[in-house]
Symmetry: C2
Subunit: 397 residues, 2 copies
């Protein structure tokens, strides 16, 4: 292996603030270390800390009292201090195949793992991530398969009077095939934006892998921003590096649904799409499931495939919008046009389980055909990655 | 503003691990807070900490002894503890317009600012960032101007026997204009990858702003991965979430230069490019400047515009590659073809200053025309963003 002299390498690094450790011969810490049996060791060097804990979605939750009742707070486990101030914790059991997130708590202060550069933002929370393979989460990995293109594109939304940002996945081969492709519109939840499905949802990896395995048809995936007051994800608009928030105006007031034809028009104009109902799917998680439900009945000739992932169903009672009026009348029209697939998925522990159960009862009473997919657990990204992986193979058949 | 009930908002957030603070009415900390006079306040809540410090590229460096001599280590300043364990520091002077990075040190442990979700990775180091506007750094902001598209694309590199990932900027209007565009190939330095110019270099913002101001021509910018052993940036290839490293094989051994025609072929096949020397520029920083220098003389009919930003010039003496042989002969051919612009930029404090001075002397002796641009300071991203902002307006005139 040809290398520059150490001095030149050091010099080339002089702009890099914290990399000295590896250079001066100190062994960098490995954390997380995924062992062959899928137990995982976490390490942090903190010689002056009194207590170091780990929190993450693979650790059982604990009940927390809040002004609004009991809340499932993330659980913690203690790391043990070894020599040279290195604290360590190894999971007692192998972890199942999944994408996990975690943070350290050093004397109560939440910090990211300085040995792990991989982090994902979920609203205001940035946590480290790792993947345990060997099962379902192999779909979430970058594998040696043909890769699609992921683009951040600005489109014109005249209905909202704004230019807005979206993320678009085009399948491997799109650029040169000359073919037309179906389009899957994939919507995020409250607090999310056009980055959520790519970052937390691993959509590009899931699509690449399912298409390579022949399980999903090559398709375009359009990931919009469902907050109708927002041009783009935090940090990506002229508002600058603002702090992300859940409490945006115009999220579930009908504005986004009314403006959805702008998105479809842009996709049909700028990409080689199949411009018909049979070439369009829409799905989303939580608020995005709510949007998918209401958009698809607002435009009953637009989508042949509809997916509600842990969907909110009913708008807040204060909301007045023609979008949400005459639910049953609109559903009647939508189902009279026989959508190819109406897919509802939810976890048994989801706080929206009852609302979805009620909605399914309504569909059952009316004799409207849908497919139901139920999982364990609740309103979490683990479930939404599963729903994406299960829903996509059913599209455009 | 229409809102869901608090309980529904809380419930929709139940997957979000650390957002409780804002919900239960505790005022979230603002950090960094940029005041009207461009002083900046940093805050961290750490009631159990004994010492909290701030380090960042706006704080004077300090000399550190290393096995390889004196090293300009990042400086630190102390925060002062106030009530409720909130530590604070305000810069004594306004900061000049710039993109800055920083971290906290809590009892010696480097951490990111939990109040600031904006971070950029530089090799193994992830630091928080903020922008002070009102000057040059306004170019680095997302402004209300038409925005280009940024795509992550995989291309075939038969010369290296790999599929590889690149980042491509296409200017606003590209999708529907039907026009052909010139292409600027923009290369990163050692330890970098196809994400470096977008993340640390703010290339999309600089291009959007310069084009909107009429200062740069609309152009395609192709940001490759210059590590010829690497398919993609860390975390984006089948190697998974590996720890990034400076010490990759095949970075400056001729492999990347030899394979560069793969990149140009892909761009010319997949984008509406101007397929001639007058429609192509190449530039890079540090190792990328080295690559730009050697690629442009290896393919003397390919690029009319060449930029060396703080470039390494001479390969390691152990390296044997035909790419680096007969420097003067190749330069003679390249300059006989009269490149439209050969642009050399470096900072006065750069450790490569002397190498660039020697190279300029050689060009002077031979009477080869070039443009020289000198700045203060050294081998840092601040300079590379400046060089990009200065070089781009000179292209394709």
């Amino acid at each position: 292996m040809k290398k520059l002299s150490i001095l030149l390498v050091v010099s080339l690094m002089c702009g890099i603030v914290f990399a000295q450790q590896a250079l001066w011969g100190v062994q960098p810490l490995v954390s997380p270390e995924i062992h062959d049996n899928n137990t995982v060791t976490f390490r942090l060097k903190a010689p002056k800390a009194v207590k170091v804990q780990l929190t993450g979605d693979f650790i059982p939750t604990q009940k927390m009292d809040t002004p609004y009742g009991k809340y499932d707070a993330p659980g913690t486990v203690d790391l043990v201090e070894g020599k040279e101030g290195i604290w360590e914790y190894t999971t007692p059991e192998p972890l199942k195949s999944e994408l996990y997130s975690y943070s350290f708590l050093v004397d109560g202060l939440k910090i990211n793992d300085p040995s792990n550069v991989y982090m994902i933002r979920d609203v205001v929370s940035v946590t480290n991530v790792f993947i345990i393979g060997g099962g379902r989460a192999d779909l979430y990995k970058v594998n040696k398969v043909p890769h699609g293109t992921v683009s951040r594109v600005w489109y014109n939304a005249p209905t909202l009077g704004m230019k807005r940002r979206m993320t678009v996945y085009t399948p491997a081969g799109y650029e040169t095939s000359g073919k037309r492709y179906p389009v899957f519109y994939l919507l995020h939840g409250m607090g999310g934006d056009e980055e959520a499905w790519i970052a937390l949802g691993r959509t590009a990896q899931i699509m690449d892998n399912l298409i390579a395995q022949g399980k999903a048809k090559p398709m375009i995936v359009v990931m919009t921003n469902g907050n109708a007051s927002q041009e783009a994800a935090p940090g990506e608009s002229s508002l600058g590096f603002v702090s992300p928030t859940m409490q945006l105006p115009k999220t579930m007031d009908g504005s986004f649904e009314m403006s959805f034809s702008d998105v479809v028009k842009f996709a049909d104009k700028n990409y080689r799409t199949i411009k018909s109902k049979s070439g369009r799917a829409i799905a989303g998680l939580s608020m995005g499931g709510f949007h998918s439900m209401h958009v698809s009945k607002l435009f009953p000739d637009m989508f042949d495939y509809v997916g509600l992932f842990s969907a909110a169903i009913v708008p807040n009672k204060d909301v007045k919008s023609p979008v949400y009026e005459d639910l049953e009348g609109k559903l009647k029209i939508q189902f009279s046009k026989k959508p190819a697939l109406y897919w509802i998925a939810i976890g048994k522990a989801d706080f929206l389980y009852k609302a979805n159960e009620d909605y399914r009862k309504l569909l059952d009473e009316k004799g409207y055909k849908y497919t139901y997919y139920e999982t364990d657990e609740g309103h979490i990204w683990k479930n939404w990655r599963i729903y994406l992986s299960e829903f996509t193979p059913l599209l455009f058949r």
